[in-house]
Symmetry: D2
């Protein structure tokens, strides 16, 4: 089995985990491909990039690291095992302590692959030419940039104009992304198995707007409604591109879901309570 490795060296535990991982290689008869920044840990390993064929991916860090692994995979269907090096994540599969057991079960295919719907976004110019294209597991955000003044956004769903409104931005999120930036903008929490696309305006200038939960099959088109404003596209919180005045951002469900390795029934609600205190850890009395 060929394992791609992605890791975030901001976590102090990374060197130890890399060392233990190296020890596992001969035991489990697997080979490793590493993101370039990880190569110093294992100098004879191959590079893991957007062309490498891998059977599975190991993400060493937090949810953000796993999101990066998913972007790197793009439409390749390899499952991702997230080893959590920090606080509890929504997406990680085990803690650092569980590294050896986790990797062994991965190699033995003794796990459940939880499919998470992803989004495919493309920046398209007036002639229909695609100038940028991404897959994201959390969200695609179209946002005014820097000191920009009020921008009006126009939104189409399946070819129908559904609204045009002034706002700071528009968040298009998967259920997985519903607990990330979409939530900050006022969106609902969507249980991951409810395939859907959540559309939420960021700081809208009208009172009469509310988050929308759209079918997973919807095709969304977003653009600036008026004028020469240049907009910014971010994917899972990472810079994507700028969107010029005659360009449109087209978003729909990605062809392949992201496959998250799970070893046992993982309770979404338990993670919600632990990570966000949902449902009343700190109530007021009387």
């Amino acid at each position: 089995m060929r394992l791609g490795i992605v890791g975030n060296s901001d976590y102090g535990g990374l060197p130890d985990v890399m060392q233990r991982l190296r020890a596992l290689v001969p035991q489990l008869g697997m080979s490793l491909a590493l993101e370039p920044p990880l190569l110093p840990f294992l100098s004879d390993a191959d590079v893991f990039d957007e062309h490498t064929e891998v059977d599975a991916v190991l993400s060493l860090g937090g949810d953000g690291t796993l999101l990066r692994a998913a972007r790197l995979l793009d439409d390749r269907a390899a499952p991702i095992l997230g080893v959590n090096l920090g606080r509890l994540g929504f997406l990680t599969s085990c803690d650092a302590d569980g590294l050896e057991e986790g990797v062994r079960r991965l190699v033995e295919r003794d796990y459940h692959a939880e499919p998470r719907m992803a989004l495919r976004a493309a920046a398209v110019d007036a002639s229909g030419r695609v100038h940028a294209r991404w897959r994201s597991l959390n969200d695609v955000v179209l946002h005014k940039g820097g000191f920009a003044r009020v921008v009006r956004f126009a939104v189409w769903v399946d070819g129908e104009p559904i609204g045009a409104f002034a706002a700071d931005g528009v968040v298009v999120a998967t259920p997985t992304g519903s607990t990330a930036y979409s939530l900050s903008a006022g969106g609902p929490i969507v249980v991951p198995t409810v395939e859907s696309i959540v559309l939420t305006a960021v700081s809208p200038h009208t009172l009469a707007i509310r988050p929308l939960v759209l079918p997973p099959t919807a095709e969304l088109r977003l653009m600036a409604d008026d004028g020469p404003e240049e907009l910014l596209v971010t994917l899972d919180g990472q810079p994507g591109t700028t969107l010029g005045e005659s360009e449109t951002l087209v978003i729909h469900r990605a062809a392949t879901p992201v496959l998250i390795v799970r070893f046992a029934d993982s309770s979404f609600f338990a993670r919600l309570r632990t990570k966000m205190g949902w449902g009343g850890l700190s109530e007021r009395d009387e």
Copy 2:
């Protein structure tokens, strides 16, 4: 074809519509069954009640009238044609002007039946005995009553406790109900085709709670978390029952959806803009 008729006499247009409907009976070779309050309009008609077998239902009024028709049908699968006598509704199929054409197409089965997920709710006592049971198309609400002080609600999803929090109430809504009371309580707007159950706390006493979009297959159990408080259950805004301290409200998707008659592509977003001004009719400038 046997047609059940439900109507709201608060709308001034009802007598005219009933008269025109009477004229259609011989032309279309159908028979009518009327809710008791409508019998004066057509003294020789049968009564339409919870036991009457009907092939379709005509709802004369607004969305509230159609919700009542759906409750009356309970699990019977007859489609409902809503003739709108007031302002644009989300659920109605045509205006009063379209009565004759609408009924003829209904009889000729020249329409699309749009299935709308409904909820089945039951009040269950400690011994498992069901003491009340309803189907609702919009929502089931568990609410503190009258002058009651703070109540703590406990919520389970598929047997897992997901939270316990002080609030005025809890709204459990279908996508259809997402634009009704659930929206007032801060819930998202869910496009009707996204089968799901929306759980929203009403005036929660904790800051750390947000609306949840759950799978349509989820079974919810709601009860008072502490003490002897008597709670109220309402269904689609109508009184249901009181829920005693040892009782639980169990909610899941109803076995049969409500079938709404549609004659043409009906745009959910157009209704959203017209009824609620969603997406910026009244924006602020500068």
Copy 3:
């Protein structure tokens, strides 16, 4: 000095505090007047009721107990020392440990009296007759009752109609009450020294409504906009009265503020963080 005593026997620490308080009487040369439920603790004490003249009040319990003490005082200007028997309160002055020192400083007038704006509310019938009248430190709420359907509320400020909207209720809160029910309904947190009246609709049926912060001098009039609906009035979370269809609820600033005893600079923001986790105790990472 004559001290009125109010206490909540739901707190287990009450008997001990009452016993220590009894020991303080001869030392400090004060006399006590007790709420009737507390008389068993000190059988020879006077009764503290709405007519008793007292120089100060001791509230033994939590914020709810102190709110009750303030209602009992009505317009009498005696300062209230809140001895906190439970979790940190917004209004209490010291913990049970600090009882002796707190009472001694109260008797020696070695404290700061923090004035908190209160509200005066009255239910007035069509002929102008007042049939009920209260002072509240937190809030006055006009609410639909029981199974009641949608109610439309009409609101006037200083004689000007400012809006009529369907909702579950309307909260009129002081700055002190802005962290109580008003917050649950979506209102802002108002620092106690910003004298003002906060008006917040509870679950409004229109999207286009937001909490309003009004001048402390405003006179508000609230009533049902349409029809025979009977409404409920609650004061600081306690039952007030029902409001009939031709009656109006009139609310303005109370003539006298509630005086809260403070022994040192008390940080409103520290209480906000501790009680409600305001400002980010439980943030999401990545």
Copy 4:
């Protein structure tokens, strides 16, 4: 009387108003000073800039134009008469039709000057040196820029740290600004006479945060809580400066209020209803 003129040429009515204004000069015995872009309309007029002494200012445009006039005046106490060339504004004093009467009454001092609290903001470096300084009538916003990732903001009020949280930005608004960007970020509407400072986080990453209404005397200090992130400062929606990692944004009430010319009782609530549909223009039925 010397009148400073500010105008927005995006409004088609500007040339006509400038022509009529020129005709008024000899009649009313006044002199005009014009913003440089307006000089072509009246070639012999003086320039109106940040040093010009004027007795009053005429703002020709909308609320945005008047905000610009107020920034240009800075601490000079001249009253501003806003002639509204577009849709109803919150701040304008009369329509274009009322130009002649408005200016005559201004010259005759036959008006009411409504004082509106303004904010004074300064960017201060680690050594206490002020590198930029502004007055704003609506708001001061500290915001992450461009593609920036999550930023943590730290906020102090009168020297006390009140919170540190991840967000897109922080809005500090006057009551006048409470109906502008602050409202988009979820802040309350504050009636202009309630002097106060409204602090609202933009898309906070924690659930446990709510808008705060602070005393007008509060001094706020805002900065990035962690790291080298460069932040952007905007004033009334206009670019201010960037704020480096060791710099602090200090905000307090401006020494002088902005004086808005009013000719009659102007109802804040009527403007609220007309501009924003506050209080239920578009309600849902049933």
